[in-house]
């Protein structure tokens, strides 16, 4: 009986020891939760940043395409504006220029 009691007392002591350890656990758990929470928030924040940046990249890509398209439009305008036909018409009509007549051209021959 005494022996049994003694064993029971040992168990009680072990349980107490365990429960005293358990009393420290809530802080650890809280810390763990906070770390985990930050970790999760970090992941979410990263995802959000990636999404935001992706949208921004998409917008910039669209902008780049628009600028490239504008460049092409300007190239076409340059091609039209620099065409010989247009310049000659302007020279003739606005500045009164003309090609020289055959009689107005002197040819110099090398001796």
């Amino acid at each position: 009986m005494n022996r049994k009691f003694y064993r029971g007392n040992e168990d009680l002591r072990r349980r107490k020891k365990r429960s005293s350890k358990g009393r420290k656990n809530p802080y650890r758990l809280l810390l763990l939760l906070i770390v985990f929470g930050f970790f999760v928030l970090g992941i979410v924040w990263t995802r959000i940043t990636i999404t935001e940046l992706t949208i921004r990249i998409g917008e910039l890509e669209k902008e780049r395409k628009e600028v490239a398209n504008e460049v092409q439009r300007l190239e076409l305008d340059i091609s039209y504006l620099s065409s010989r036909n247009r310049i000659e018409t302007l020279a003739r009509e606005t500045l009164g220029m003309r090609y020289p007549r055959l009689t107005e051209v002197s040819t110099l021959y090398e001796k």
């Binding site: 049994k4 009691f5 029971g8 168990d11 009680l12 990636i50 992706t54 949208i55 990249i57 998409g58 890509e61 395409k65 398209n69 092409q72 439009r73 190239e75 076409l76 305008d77 340059i78 091609s79 039209y80 620099s82 065409s83 010989r84 036909n85 090609y99 055959l102 051209v105 040819t107 021959y109 090398e110």
Partner: protein, 574 residues
């Protein structure tokens, strides 16, 4: 006693109510098993199907259209390019009040209301209302918010110089597929390759690229450089239009090339068309008549007869080849020159383009050799130009030549060729007797300036000595003969006029429908340019000497003023 109670409590903790807890335990276990099996079913059995379905909900695979390659002239000037434009379309079946929609769109300046209404009333599921619309108008259309009216990004081909080289460049269809001309011939190079991208669908339905998603960017079409010089092309077209109008001609063509390399510098056709314009006129106007249409060359073909005679040494320059009557009788039919003249030497006969003398000289050479020389000069076979629709030409076998047909062939009738074939034949004389392959494509790629090209030799046609004689003869044509109106002070030009009666559909030759031509090159000693001018059915005084010869001179005069050709010409003339 106290200790006993405590002992009992410990026992209770160690051994809780067995039956109830076992039931709850089993229940939880079964529930867990059920959930696990459901999870396994969803993840393992149906996993891939659900995965695909979920992906489809937020991932969209979109095709990426490549940019069509640009077409540039030999100096890198843009002749054709593509733009992304905003276009307005309609889905007629979704529109309720079509008249109201047409009026509202017309009020925004998108066209006449009746025209828009007729588009909306078409029995089609999709119609373009207007393509390449300004941003302001696009916003206004969006504000209207009509169901069945939408805005789409669209690519459109532009030809910034309008009609310039329209028949050569051709055009593309609605989906930017080449349908005619260079656009058709080089479609494989110009079109590029389609790409694709997987995009993320946003909460508002917008599509965004996502770095982790795979994509394949489209491969843009290649830039191609043509051998064409936009300035020379413009000069040729402008002057051709002027002459066609002045002589009330049916049309005309001008081909300009470098006889030393075979590069085509200009291909002008009248009537031409503007590939930017919808409809682009009748299909007959689209074709590049310089390579597709056959004509009997008339007196310009006499250079083949003359070259054969010189090469075969059957005639001397100063030898008298004509009795002065200007008439020769072949199989009872008289072939005569336009007017009587004194006896001609061979040189005079060529300079005055004597028909009677040409027939006599052809007889000296013989049928077989005339045929072989014509064949070697490129008549009756394609030149090999990389453009669609090139015609072979007709050069009958000598066995089929009757006496009268042989006489006709000596005058450039009874056979046919294209302007390009005729020009390449003259090119062989200008190029010291070597026939070259014509080239229209200078380079492919992204270089700013194309590299120099090596000429592609077809064959030697005549000897160097013969070309020297031919150059003397042809420069005489311009200095003293029928091509006097093509001459330009300070520049030695060699050339030949031609006037050919057109073949009637009913058979025989027309007396008033003529094709006049002049082909010339300069400077004679070391030619850099060859120009062939053809005017179809001019009215008034329709001769090769009076219509295409002065046209040649006007073009040459303007070309020699071009800064890019002046130093080259001066260097060659020294």
């Amino acid at each position: 006693m106290k200790n006993d109670r405590y002992q009992l409590r410990i026992d209770k903790t160690q051994f809780p109510s067995p039956i109830r807890q076992r039931v709850v335990g089993w229940f939880c276990f079964l529930l867990w098993l059920l959930l696990l099996s459901r999870l396994a079913y969803i993840q393992v059995v149906r996993g891939s199907a659900y995965g695909t379905e979920a992906e489809n909900q937020h991932r969209v695979k979109v095709p990426l259209f490549p940019e069509r390659g640009k077409i540039l002239d030999r100096n890198g000037r843009l002749l054709a390019g593509s733009l992304e434009v905003n276009s307005i379309y309609a889905l007629p079946s979704q529109l309720r009040d079509k008249e109201k929609v047409a009026q509202k769109l017309a009020a925004l300046g998108l066209g006449h209301s009746k025209k828009i209404l007729s588009l909306l009333q078409r029995r089609k599921s999709f119609v373009w209302i207007r393509r390449d619309v300004e941003k302001e108008k696009i916003l206004q259309v969006r504000e209207l918010g009509f169901e069945g009216i939408g805005i789409a990004k669209d690519r459109r081909r532009y030809y910034p110089r309008g009609k310039l080289a329209g028949n050569l460049l051709g055009f593309v269809g609605e989906d930017e597929v080449g349908l005619e001309g260079v656009e058709y011939e080089y479609d494989d190079l110009l079109k590029g390759e389609m790409g694709w991208a997987i995009l993320q669908r946003g909460a508002r339905g917008g599509l965004y690229p996502f770095p982790e998603y795979p994509d394949m960017p489209p491969r843009p079409g290649k830039k191609i450089f043509l051998t064409i010089d936009a300035d020379i092309q413009s000069i040729c077209e402008e002057n051709l239009e002027k002459y066609v109008e002045r002589f009330h001609a049916k049309g005309g063509s001008i081909l300009c090339l470098n006889p030393k390399t075979g590069e085509l510098l200009a291909m002008a056709n009248s009537p031409g068309y503007d590939p930017n314009r919808n409809g682009r006129g009748a299909p007959g106007v689209w074709r590049n008549r310089i390579i597709t249409d056959l004509f009997e060359p008339g007196s310009t073909f006499k250079v083949v007869i003359d070259a054969a005679a010189v090469e075969k040494e059957v005639v001397e320059l100063e030898e008298r080849v004509d009795d002065g009557s200007g008439v020769i009788v072949v199989s009872g039919r008289k072939i005569r020159d336009p007017k009587k003249h004194g006896p001609y030497t061979f040189q005079q006969a060529v300079e005055r383009s004597s028909n009677a003398a040409s027939v006599r000289i052809a007889h000296r050479v013989g049928k077989r050799d005339i045929y072989l020389f014509a064949r070697n000069f490129g008549f009756g076979t394609r030149t090999g130009i990389n453009l669609p629709g090139e015609a072979n030409g007709v050069l009958p076998l000598p066995e089929e030549w009757s006496s009268i047909r042989f006489a006709n062939i000596a005058l450039g009738h009874g056979l046919s060729g294209t302007v390009l074939q005729l020009s390449m034949a003259f090119g062989a004389i200008a190029n010291d007797g070597v026939l070259l392959e014509p080239r229209i494509l200078l380079a492919v790629g992204n270089a700013d300036r194309p590299p120099e090209v090596e000429p592609r030799v077809v064959r030697r046609v005549i000897s160097l000595e013969t070309t020297k004689v031919m150059k003397i003869l042809l420069s005489g044509v311009v200095e003293r003969g029928t091509g006097r109106l093509a001459s330009l002070p300070g520049l030695r030009i060699a050339g030949k006029t031609g006037t050919a009666q057109k073949v009637l559909e009913s058979g025989g030759y027309s007396n008033d429908r003529l094709i006049t031509s002049f082909v010339g090159f300069f400077p004679v000693e070391n030619p850099i340019l060859l120009i062939a001018c053809i005017v179809d059915e001019p009215k008034g005084n329709p001769w090769g000497a009076t219509v295409p010869a002065p046209l040649f001179r006007e073009i040459t005069q303007k070309i020699v003023h071009l800064s890019s050709y002046q130093p080259l010409l001066l260097a060659r003339m020294k």
